[in-house]
Symmetry: C2
Subunit: 451 residues, 2 copies
């Protein structure tokens, strides 16, 4: 029987899990600090809902039942969610009457995609999402709040310098039209531009020409325009050239100006964001601001946090418009490659108990249970060694687990009514009275130091 | 398009999620206090592994891929795990060389079962597991540690009185043999006894007679013996009658005696456990102590926490014996019915921000961002109201979310360089200087109270 993990379904060793959990905690606490509330949706949704939103690019896992080979309870069957945005739209639509709007929620869950196994692609991975949904109205403060949350989290995560690359769908659509792209071809052109950093300028040209049957697109100029790189202010001037007679560009540009001005007031450093006209975001539902985020020292990871503004996501669910803006951190995608680079010094991570209690004989067990109880009552993580009765093996275990304090209880200790406390670092041993440990007012450290 | 949740896949409203998360936190913190370390395994395992361990009773969900209709990467396909014990066995076997033993791990994850939808049965639910695995050796302290963790958690969860019902597989096997059950029929008889509380005495007799083709089983006596109910000491005497000439009963009974004696020393109250000879646990892998737990005031929930000792779980994976003992809390199964009884007063739960900042005009946004930043720096959960520019709607939202402090910024405030702080409970309004808020040394409460 095979017992190794399955390709694309990563699992962590305990010390790695500690680092990962710590990052999850940071993300969750900042979401809470920004007033997002927690929800969790089932891993499973109706296949029809997921297919309607997944497009062709996201392969979903469908569910079957083994023993009964029964039809799924719904005619259309069930599947595992591939992101947390579609479940949010379904949740908000379904519970609309009982939720407060603007609805600020965060959601940290695994998602699944039936990708071909390849480096950096996972079939099961964590997403950490935060979104703000309005009922009819959602003002622009929401955009800035989302981007500020992104920057605050990435600073706290200590994964090095990062840059949030901001664009606006309205502006980009007008740009491509200006350079000759037919309205109908915009989605296809967007998909090409979305990959420009991956495939390079030449391939981009090639793919654009393939679409451009009538040779209308001024490919060179288009690419030159959107690959412009400069400071925020200069890039705004660059776009302003197009906004003169174009209402939509003006709208988009005003939003961008509002956003960058207030991001600074919101505490986001100018070095952490820029305007990048190549940013598209693959998904069709974005309608306004869109963004991606790169780690400056690890650009090979691609975007580790992205999102944007969408105004029509819930319409297809046949309900009210719930305009929204959101972010998603692909934590596994960020974490697993950085883990390989060992930036967190995982060999130094302490994973288990503060104190190990070692009963040397079965007769010593009773006192060990009492001792463990008294120490746990003081809030110290404590375990009783449950291997065989060998002081050598017990201490080896303590060393391996980096447990600094061990308590040894053998025959001598039982006769004297004491326990032996050993500091694993210094090797120093101290005998303390069990009765002292029972004195609730005495701190553990006091007892150990005083004796 | 359907947008309601799918039967058997529960999801919570935000205030319910707060209660649930709080319970998860309690469980997790006590697991840590007992020195368990966190691991998480993929939701997906090989179908062959799961089928080998699931028996006939647990219906598993298998995975397919929609778009490509491709063969699964493994010949035998993939499926969602139905518990956390089989994944633990796979994890420990697979990573044995890199883990420390005894390996104390906790795991809190969703599991999936293709059950028929019925009250109290979920297809997706949380399990909270803790286990201790030894390498070759695992002494009896581990059994007591597990049961102590159970009792400590259930006290902290504040779900009312509970009783842990303890039995021993060795003893039960000898009892049924003594009353005439053939060795080969033990598993079948165990399955019947396992359901005795659900189906009642009469049905139990009936089912036992069906098995008993040669009419060897002294059914009446067997049932009378195992349904004996009394104090721990009396039940031990009751069992002792059988142990006189039976080595296996003596072994089992000595373990039981050891366990109950040390449970008390470990701080578990005598009112929270008893010996119950009817306890079996459905799964075949248990070999020693087994237990289930009931809530005294909610017995209809069935066992909310169960587990036991297993010595051969990993053998079928072709590796070393890893004797273990573990517990599993079916948190969803406990939580969802109690939620319906509203024992937690969910209408009083506060779910969102401490402070709501309300910019009355778009011009006030900039100061709002600065204000929010300064308050968040002081660790207060803060959000900017992102609905339309209506003071009425903003305050209604604050009320609905039970946010007690709102900060209003309008034209007056902007002209004066102040912000208006409103206490929603008293209605009291205070104007404070933005410059005071910028003074990092000033506590928020000091500023608000002093002005």
């Amino acid at each position: 029987m095979k017992y190794n993990a399955i390709s694309g379904f990563p699992e962590l060793m305990p010390e790695e899990q500690v680092i990962f959990d710590n990052m999850l905690d940071i993300i969750e606490n900042i979401y809470k600090l920004f007033g997002f509330i927690h929800i969790e949706t089932p891993a499973v949704e109706r296949k029809s809902l997921l297919l309607a939103k997944s497009g062709e690019e996201k392969e979903i896992y469908t569910l079957g039942r083994h023993h009964t080979q029964e039809e799924m309870p719904d005619k259309d069957g069930l599947a595992l969610h591939f992101d947390l945005t579609v479940p949010l739209a379904r949740y908000a639509t379904s519970h609309m009457e009982n939720l407060s709007f603007p609805f600020r929620r965060y959601q940290i869950q695994k998602v699944w995609r039936g990708e071909r196994a390849q480096s950096g692609r996972y079939r099961e991975f964590y997403q950490c999402d935060a979104d703000i949904l309005g009922k009819n109205d959602l003002n622009l403060t929401a955009n800035v709040e989302i981007l500020t949350a992104v920057a605050t989290i990435l600073e706290k995560l200590e994964v090095g310098n990062f840059i949030i690359k901001i664009n606006h769908r309205l502006i980009l659509a007008e740009i491509v039209k200006y350079f000759g792209v037919n309205e109908n071809n915009i989605p296809a052109v967007f998909r090409i531009i979305d990959k420009i950093d991956k495939i390079g300028i030449d391939k981009t040209k090639e793919y654009l020409c393939e679409i451009d049957k009538q040779n209308n697109i001024r490919t060179e100029e288009l690419i030159r325009f959107i690959t412009y790189e400069s400071s925020v202010d200069e890039t705004i001037k660059h776009i302003e050239k197009m906004s003169v007679d174009n209402e939509k560009v003006t709208i988009g540009l005003n939003e961008i100006k509002y956003t960058v001005k207030n991001l600074k007031l919101s505490g986001v450093s100018e070095k952490n964001f820029k305007i990048d006209l190549k940013i598209v975001r693959g998904l069709d539902y974005y309608t306004g601001m869109v963004f991606e985020t790169n780690l400056i020292d690890h650009t090979e990871l691609g975007s580790i946090c992205s999102g944007g503004r969408y105004d029509n996501l819930t319409e297809s669910l046949g309900k009210k418009k719930l305009p929204g803006v959101g972010m998603s951190i692909g934590l596994s995608r960020l974490f697993l490659p950085l883990l390989k680079k060992n930036i967190w010094h995982k060999d130094k991570i302490i994973i288990g108990s503060d104190i190990l209690v070692i009963p040397l004989t079965k007769e010593a067990d009773s006192i060990s249970f009492e001792t463990a109880k008294l120490i746990r009552n003081r809030g110290k993580k404590t375990e009783i060694y449950a291997g065989d009765r060998s002081i050598k093996k017990s201490l080896k275990y303590a060393n391996k687990q980096k447990i600094n304090t061990v308590i040894i209880i053998g025959e001598d200790e039982m006769n004297n009514g004491t326990i032996k406390v050993k500091d694993m670092e210094t090797g120093k041993e101290t005998n303390i009275k069990l009765s002292d440990l029972k004195d609730k007012n005495l701190e553990l450290t006091t007892i150990i130091v005083n004796e």
